[in-house]
């Protein structure tokens, strides 16, 4: 079974102007409906988590940019291939040819189980070493986004532990004081579409959301500081970071104006000349489909390259990181580390099946973790995993707003199933990401 070809278009001048709900510099209009191809079947409107698609049965639909999360769920579910994606492939290809630049691929977990689909393999075919070798053959150096996911767990996990200490254990030491403004429940921050959804529709939730960056942004900032200066000894200005993502909203996330932290840090520490113009942490983002197109342009088939034998230091990652791409994966990874830190011992099994989202809309679980500061007394943690914003998230947010939420930790993934079903993934022509049972579409008046 082949994959559906998705048309792409290049960014225009209007892309970066900001306005509406976009700040200047942010990429807008990543997803667009081709009015000549749209037959008005109304499928996209039923998959849009933000109600950003206007139109009705039989009428050509269009996307309201200001309301759009850029998640691309409409795109992967359009039965007619009428929805198109903005692509930065040309820019990346020209940088790859430029010998002055070191082009770094930041490869997301979900890419390794979907890239092969574009080359004829069944969904879920795992390529790790072959994929790394293919990217190197194309001229990239690699910083695993999974490694950055491990960093994310360290930062976000410790942040969650600090919140637990402050809010549940009553530890009001001065260094924890900043968490007074960030009450429980703790929301994950890895999904850019969820962040934009909260910013647009649920601003009351914002103090609950983790301050840790998403793995992609951590990777960008780390590559242009630690890796450039200490590991590779190259000029950070000559690094071009490319996120290889299963996600169209990551294109937007990378362009958010605050994500220039490597530039400001380097400048403060005196590593940059005074007149350096600001540069973003992540320069460009390619979706899985774009990456496959890049390989086709360069005549590389990732399934046929010989897998690399050695793992570079920037390619080491853990099991906790790689399951980030599944719904419930961030939670499981955070819990694995939090369990070890809070209890001072390793769990009997690393697999926490209770929080795995699979294709269930909302997963809730209660976990007992022994707390070392309380002499091993067990505390119950209430966990919630939201698998797809559409239809599942609202009741949970309502509880949080009125202060009745029973949960301590809530993971939100915009796309049903997690990143592996993101808007940048290969499109299965017979597939649907509708995960709710029985009715394919809700009966609404």
């Amino acid at each position: 079974m082949g994959v559906q070809k998705i048309a792409t278009f290049s960014p225009s001048e209007k892309t970066f102007t900001g306005g509406g709900t976009f700040l200047p510099g942010e990429v807008k209009g990543i997803i667009r409906i081709n009015p000549n191809k749209c037959v008005g079947c109304d499928t996209c409107r039923h998959h849009c988590p933000a109600g950003a698609i206007k139109g009705s049965l039989g009428v050509t639909h269009h996307i309201e940019e200001d309301l759009c999360l850029s998640c691309g769920q409409c795109l992967v579910n359009c039965p007619f291939g009428a929805i198109e994606q903005m692509s930065f492939l040309d820019e990346v290809l020209s940088r790859l040819k430029d010998p002055d630049y070191t082009v770094v691929a930041i490869i997301a977990p979900a890419v390794r189980v979907a890239l092969a689909e574009e080359f004829g393999a069944p969904p879920g075919t795992l390529t790790v070493h072959r994929m790394h070798a293919a990217f190197k053959k194309a001229g990239f150096r690699i910083y695993e986004n999974n490694l950055a996911a491990d960093q994310t767990i360290m930062e976000e996990g410790y942040e969650f532990i600090a919140k637990v200490k402050y809010w549940l254990l009553g530890d009001k030491t001065p260094e924890l004081e900043k968490f007074a403004e960030h009450p429980l429940p703790h929301f994950t921050s890895c999904c850019p579409a969820w962040i934009r959804y909260a910013e647009l529709y649920w601003p009351d939730i914002l103090p609950h959301i983790s301050g840790a960056k998403s793995p992609q942004q951590m990777a960008g900032a780390t590559v242009k500081t630690w890796v450039a200066l200490r590991l590779w000894n190259i000029d950070p200005r000559k690094i071009y970071t490319v996120g290889i993502m299963p996600c169209t909203a990551k294109i937007y996330e990378a362009s958010r104006p605050e994500f220039k932290s490597a530039f400001y840090w380097l400048k403060e520490k005196g590593h940059l000349p005074e007149d350096t113009p600001p540069f973003p942490d992540v320069d460009a983002v390619l979706t899985t489909r774009d990456a496959a197109e890049l390989f086709r342009c360069l005549n590389i088939n990732p399934l046929n390259v010989s897998p690399e034998k050695e793992t570079d230091i920037t390619e080491v990652y853990t099991g906790g990181a790689t399951i980030f791409g599944n719904s419930g994966g961030v939670t499981e990874a955070a819990l694995r580390t939090a369990y070890c830190v809070l209890s001072g011992q390793e769990p009997s099994s690393w697999n926490i099946e209770a929080v795995r989202g699979h294709t269930t809309g909302v997963r809730t679980a209660k976990l007992a973790i022994p707390l070392k500061p309380l002499g091993g007394k067990k505390a119950n943690f209430h966990i919630c995993v939201v698998n797809g914003v559409k239809n599942h998230l609202e009741p949970i947010l309502e509880d949080v707003v009125i202060g009745k939420s029973p949960f301590h930790f809530i993971e939100v993934m915009n796309c049903p199933g997690g990143c592996i079903n993101g808007g940048g993934q290969p499109v299965n022509p017979m597939g649907t990401s509708w995960i709710d049972p029985l009715l394919p579409l809700p009966l609404k008046a």
Binding site: A221, W226, W350, G417
Partner: protein, 119 residues
Amino acid sequence: MSEKLPFQYEEKPASLLISRRTFLKITGVLTSVLAIGAYTVTDFVKKRNKYIKMRQKGLYKDDLRCQRNNLPASHLNPTVEKFYRDFAEHPLSETAHHLLHTHHYYVRGKLNMKGERHG
């Protein structure tokens, strides 16, 4: 007609059992129930979203591969350890605060107010 003939046909009054309109209503509802039901049944047979489960399975396979290599959880990653030892000191440190945390969540509805149309 005073005399009843043996072959005379008497039509039943239409409203006795079911009216034309009721008949249309019932068949209309039945058709939609059958159509939706048929789609649901094919949904179970075809499992249109099975590709989601297949990709998830692929990542859990990768997870088990990492666990076999003694890399189950993030704090055990040697590169992360090196990153903190050589560079960022510890999670939530000053450096981590600058590079790995964000301090910007915007209330985008307000941005929209300044723009061309009210949200």
